[in-house]
Each structure stands twice: as C-alpha cells, then as structure tokens.
Amino acid sequence: MNILYDERLDGELAPTDKAEVLADLQRSAPGLTLLHREEDLRPFECDGLAAYRVLPMLVALPETLEQVETLMKRCRALGVPVVTRGAGTGLSGGALPLEQGVLLVMSRFNRILDVDPDARIARLQPGVRNLAISEAAAPYGLYYAPDPSSQIACSIGGNVAENAGGVHCLKYGLTVHNVMKVEVITIEGERMTLGSEALDAPGLDLLALFTGSEGMLGVVTEITVKLLPKPETAKVLMASFDDVEKAGRAVGDIIAAGIIPGGLEMMDRLAIRAAEDFVKAGYPVEAEAILLCELDGVEADVDDDCATVRKVLEKAGATDIRQARDEAERALFWAGRKNAFPAVGRMSPDYYCMDGTIPRRELPRVLKGIAELSEEYGLRVANVFHAGDGNMHPLILFDANREGELEQAEAFGGKILELCVEAGGSITGEHGVGREKINQMCAQFAPSELTVFHAVKAAFDPGRLLNPGKNIPTLARCAEFGAMHVHNNELPHPELPRF
C-alpha cells in the first residue's frame, strides 16, 4: 500500500504552508520547542514500524500543558493535522508522521508524579517508560501488570493509545484493565478528566473508548494506573512436544483444568532454534514446539498448580517437562522467549511480524494452515504465540533483495490474517491498526460498522485533524481495497527494533 496520506482515499486536508504554520506556532506558543529543519525532523520519520517513513512538516516537543493546549487550538484554527507520538516504539505505524502535519512528541512529559502504596495507584506523565512504573512501585511490593515486549522503552502514553498487552494478559488484562484515569486535551484545547481514582466514574465509560483509540480522539497528558501486589512466587514449566498441534491442544487442556497461568507462551521449532542460538536458554532444539507455562500467586497454590499442569502436559503428550529450578533459570527460560524476535532477525535478512488473534480452540487448525501456506509460498515462518490468549505472532522470513520475495511475504501475511478473521479472530491483538493494517480493517468490519466508528470520531474531532489516515479506514478506501480483503496491501518491514 501507499504509506503516504492519500487525500483521495483518506479524506481531504486543508492546504497548509509550513512557513506560515511555523511562524504562527512560534508566535502563539513562546518557549515551545519546534523542529523544522530536515536534519532535525529525520529522527522522527518513523516509529517501530521502520519500513514506513514520512518526514513530518514540523515536530513539536512541548514541556507544559499550556503549550499543548495552545498547539491544539492553533492547529485546529489552521486546519493542520496533529499526530501524537510517545516513545515511537509502536509496531503498526500509529505514530507515522504526515508530510503536512505536526508531530506532537510527548517524550518530555516523563515524570512519575506520585506513587501511592496504600491506594495502590501511580500517577504518571505520558512519557514515563512502562518498566519505570514497576521499578518505582517495587519498593512497596507492587508492580504495573501490562508488560509489552518493548517495556524498557515504550511509554505509558503510547500504551494507552494502543491498549498495549504483553505476556500476562490472560490473567492480568490489557492496558484498559489497568488504567483508572486519564487527563486529556481535546482538539479544541480543552482539558478533561476521564475515569477516576475511585473504581468507577459517573457517565459513559469514555476512558474505555479512549484506551486504544490510537490518538484519534484526544491527547492523553496524564495517566493514573492501578498497581498490583507482586505475586509471592512465580514458577515456570517448560514442556517439549514432538508435534505443534499437540502443543496447541495442551494449551486448551491447561485452561480446562481450571488454571489461569500468569503466562502461557508457545514457540515452534524454528523459533526455538533461533532463540537457543541467540541466548542459550537451554531450549530443546530437537522439539517441534515448546510451551512455557508460568504459574504465579501464593506459594502453596502455585505448588499445587504446578503439579496439576505437569499431569495435564504429560497427558497431552509432552516429551519432556522441566521446571525452572530457581529464579535464574526462570529468567533464562523467559529470556529465550522475550528475545525471539531479534533471534529470528539473525536468521534472515528480513522478517514480517503478524499480530492476529484467534479463539484458542482454533490454534491447531490455524497452525496447520500456516504450515501449509509456508510450503505454498516457499517462505519459512517462525511461530511465537501468546498462546494463553490466542494472540499469534507468526514471523515470516524473507529476503527483500531477492526478486519477488517481498511480494510473496506480503501475500503470505495477508493469508494469515484472513485465516485469523475466518477463524473468528481479529487482525490485531495488541500492536494496533495504525497505518499498517488500515486496509485490513475493511476485511474485519462491514461498511455500516465503520460508519459507527466515524460517528464516534466526529463526536470528538469533527474536523478529522487528530491522526488522520490511521486506525479507521474511510469507506472510499474500503471501496478500493475492500474487495481485495487482506491480500497484497502490506509493505514488508526489515528488522524491527524489538526486545
């Protein structure tokens, strides 16, 4: 697809003059850092989806809420689109700049405002890194649960915009389950509070609506999150299987035994080998698949659950089951999984990461489908899954320098998402739609449903100035690409900076 904003397909924008906008903002927001020279703009041309690059017209780096307010009011008056960016680690091009827009970078709002151990909440500016929250809460025995793989770099503001997940979602939920309150500045420059430090707030649940809205409804300027007590203990079991489908079925068997693991991850042979070569986690390289099952909670219960899960895994046909002996080995088991992306990146010049979700029961069938497609397209695929919640990250390996391989990878990826939607799933579980999957939205939603999304957007941003061209496609775009469903509309991306 075309990365660039296409007025024919994404909606008209008012013509803007860079010099005029710059002069206006300099005049109306004194002290606001504005970048406008090409060499200064270059570092902001992409987010974590590095294959999508667009130079923004201007970059604004505000340090006060007043500057954000003024920026929004002036951009609205001038008809200039605003794309908000956090740490720029997103994987779907949600913070991809617009040539004719201002990129609003919130990274200077990076203070932890308050940690209240008795109320078990933390109040944060949006630029605070995800991991820094848990670090600040650790002295009180508390932590922040959602842990996207990029947690050492990604910001809580970006997490709210994308409704970020991680490896513990089945038990502890997504960002939407762990955020209590946000402060927002609207496109009109008004401030509003959504949610509450209490467990609910009067009126409509606009907090849920804003979470995951990809910067399309307002700019989040402060976030209050819930903190949880650290589990007394966490133990991890690693089970090997000689068959991927058996491993897939074992996932369901664990849940059927009434156990909700803290984490339940699966990797297939190619991913196992890549990870083992890279981090020497002690993975069984001869296995077709492994399951990592982490059980956390109160010591006595965890011991009981470990015994139950071990039995379930044996019955499911695991060829080997190992329990991490100590904290060091537990960390090592996880290191392999958490480094799976870069590990796969070492095996192939390029790879393409998918983010589809499926009902868990469809796992064996979808895995089989992916294996068949892999043969059909002649491209290897390494499968890494948040198996407990049905969120798949198949990594398609290819070489962009080889004639036609890029197109093959695109087509293959499209087929995988088609398979997910057909199995009753979604095109994205945690990475977001952004610019990357804008066309695939046409496959998941009917025009009448997209119209409802447009109505929601119009309630908060009738001029369509907040992050236009992302998340929700226009009907014109779907008319053009809808018939193609999820084929042929992805650009590949080379190695992503993942952790």
């Binding site: 979602c169 649940d205 009434g258 979700t357 939205m441 957007k457 119009a458």
Partner: protein, 367 residues
C-alpha cells in the same frame, strides 16, 4: 427426582428488534428499553414506548476451554450463571440481580458489579464483544470472541453502563473465570479505622482476598483460591466463620442495612482506596456500610445531595442516589458531569442517536 432448572426458549428476534428501532427512528418515537425490569430504580425514569429484549434469549456459544461465553441480551442472568456453574465457571464481576427476572442485557446496561469487583474487575472488564442495534436499525458487531482485539474503537466496553442510551445491545461476549477451588468467609470484630488500615496493608500483599466489607463493628472477609492458601490465610487471620451467603445478601441488598423500612434515601459513594471517613454532618457510623474494601460505601442519609456530592468529589469520588427505588429520592441519581465531559457526552449521543430514541434522559436529562 432430579431438580430441573427452567430453561428459556432460545430465539433470535434481532430482526424484529431492528425493525422496531428503525421505525422508532423514522417516527422519532423514544424507546424505553427493558430487560427484566429489575433495575429501573438505577437511573432516571424514561418516557417512551417499551421495547423488551426478553424474547431475544439464549446462549449462542459457550466453550468452557475458551473461557468465553456469548449470550443474547434477554437471557435471564440466573440461567447464564447456572450454565457456567455446570462447567465449574462463573462471571468474575459477580453482578447483582435485584430480582429473578434480571437479564444479561440489564447487567451490561447498568454495569453493576458485586463484592468481587475490586479484585476481579467490573462488568466492563469482562466484556469482549457486543452486537448492537444502532439508530438505523442495523445490528452491528464490535469486538468479538477473542481475549485480545484492538481493531477499531472499543464500542463494546463503551456500552457497559451506558444504560441503553447509545444503542440497543442485543448480544454480549464475556470472559468467564473458573470457580475458585476453595472459599471461606470470616468475620473479625474491629473498629473501622483499624479495618481500613488492615485492608491497606493486605492490599500490598498477595492474599487470596475476594471480598471485604465493614459494618457495625466487624470486618467481613471472603477468601478464595487454592485450598492450601485459603486454609493458611484463614489460620493466619483468625476471627469467626461467616456464612458465604452473606455476600449474596450484601450484593442483593438483602441485609438489614438496606431495609425498606428506613425512609432515608440510599446513597452509593464510590471513593478511592484508602479514603478516610468523610465526616459527613449528621451521619452516624451505623448509617454506613463499607463494601469493596472501603471503595464502595452505602449510606442511608437525608443529607443534601450537593453537600454529599461535594464531599465525595473532594475525596476524588462520586455519589449515586438510589433513593428513587422506593420512589422517595428527590436528587438526580447520577452526579453531574464536568462541563467539558458533559459536552462530549452530548456530542457522542448526537452522533450515535441523533433522533434521541434510545432511553432518552435515562443517565442525564440531555443524554
């Protein structure tokens, strides 16, 4: 003789419901959406033609291994809970029924959760997807039957607690939880301040707590989890055994505190964790019941609504008046919104329900 539970006649009347909505929109006729009519007290009265969801009922899919159930709005809540219990599962949000006819749609519309809420999550936390009839009479699908789904805006969770003001929810997909292996309830005599301090301390450690209420000099606790941890915690905390039925009585407002003989309005105060006593004028300790570890406080009081709401707002919370249940409440049930938030409530309502046919005035006069 084996006991049989009543089962509903499963049927899909979404087309007829859509047609009703379409005609209402055409004629500009307001609709008063009704399920079991058990929670009419929770909100402002609606003037309109009654549209009942009760015939649109039945579980459309339930695979216990998925931990997901999809169910039509008119299905009795009791029927859904019985079906889950058969598979050793439950609704994590422990919703109140307030009557045998309570429906799943009513649970979603009001968004009311029970004693487990601070530990397990609210109704909205368990909603994964909905089917919604919008103002054009078309049934739409948002979210789905998967745990993680970030495609498009989260309209599913937006509908929870919206009380039918944005559209007609016809079906909902919910995450369900396994029933805990062990359950035990305790009663510990202790003054309120000590109970609150204890709860703050316990909140920082991974105790298997799933309910905590203080009333009339005693802290009531429920422990749920694995048999080993429940037994160990019970040992550690001591106190007297408490019938597990206490929590259902609390949830359904059947405790003496909620007695209809008390003529004063019933208020629900929603406050942050660890909020000290609000020291409200003329309020005695017996007029208060602390649930949700102190974050949901029930109050019987004739106190002026503005004074009460101001005190709650200062503490970072809000107050809801449920007095209307007995037709006594004078105050608006829901706390007025901040002007900017109120403005976006209106713009959203105008976008999704331009003719104002869905439960107009149920939440606020303008919505």
């Amino acid at each position: 003789m084996a006991e049989t539970r009543p089962t509903s006649t499963d049927q899909d009347i979404s087309e007829a419901l859509g047609e009703r909505v379409r005609r209402a929109a055409e004629a500009g006729t307001p609709l008063r959406i009704e399920g079991g009519d058990t929670k009419a007290f929770y909100g402002r009265p609606v003037e309109g033609e009654t549209l009942s969801t009760r015939e649109h009922r039945g579980i459309t899919s339930y695979d216990p291994v998925e931990l997901i159930v999809s169910v039509r709005a008119g299905t009795p809540l009791a029927e859904l809970e019985a079906a889950l219990a058969e598979q050793g599962q439950m609704l994590g949000c422990e919703p109140p029924h307030f009557g045998a006819d309570a429906t799943v749609g009513g649970m979603v519309a009001t968004g009311l959760s029970g004693p487990r809420r601070p530990w397990a999550g609210s109704v909205r936390d368990f909603v994964l997807g909905i089917r919604l009839i919008t103002q054009d009479g078309v049934q739409q699908r948002f979210g789905g039957e998967v745990m993680k789904n970030v495609a498009g805006y989260d309209l599913s969770r937006l509908m929870v607690g919206a009380q039918g003001t944005l559209g007609l929810v016809t079906e909902v997909s919910l995450k369900v939880l396994p029933r805990p292996g062990a359950r035990h309830s305790l009663r510990l005599e202790m003054p309120r301040a000590e109970a609150m301090a204890k709860l703050a301390e316990w909140g920082r450690s991974p105790l298997p707590l799933t309910a905590a209420a203080w009333h009339e000099g005693a802290l009531h606790l429920r422990l749920e989890g694995g048999p080993s941890s429940v037994a160990a915690t019970r040992e550690r905390l001591g106190g007297d055994d408490l019938d597990n039925g206490f929590w259902e009585d609390l949830r359904e407002q059947r405790l003496a505190f909620f007695s209809r003989e008390d003529a004063r309005p019933l208020w629900r105060l929603s406050l942050p964790h660890n909020t000290p006593s609000l020291d409200l004028p003329g309020v005695a300790e017996a007029d208060l019941l602390y649930d949700w570890g102190g974050t949901q406080r029930w109050l019987r009081s004739d106190l002026d609504a503005d004074i009460l709401r101001e005190a709650c707002a200062r503490a970072g919370g809000h107050a809801t008046c449920l007095g209307a249940r007995e037709g006594r409440g004078q105050a608006d049930p829901f706390m007025p919104l901040e002007p900017v938030v109120e403005k976006y409530h209106r713009t959203l309502k105008a976008q999704l329900d331009p003719k104002g046919i869905f439960n107009p005035g149920r939440l606020y006069a303008a919505i």
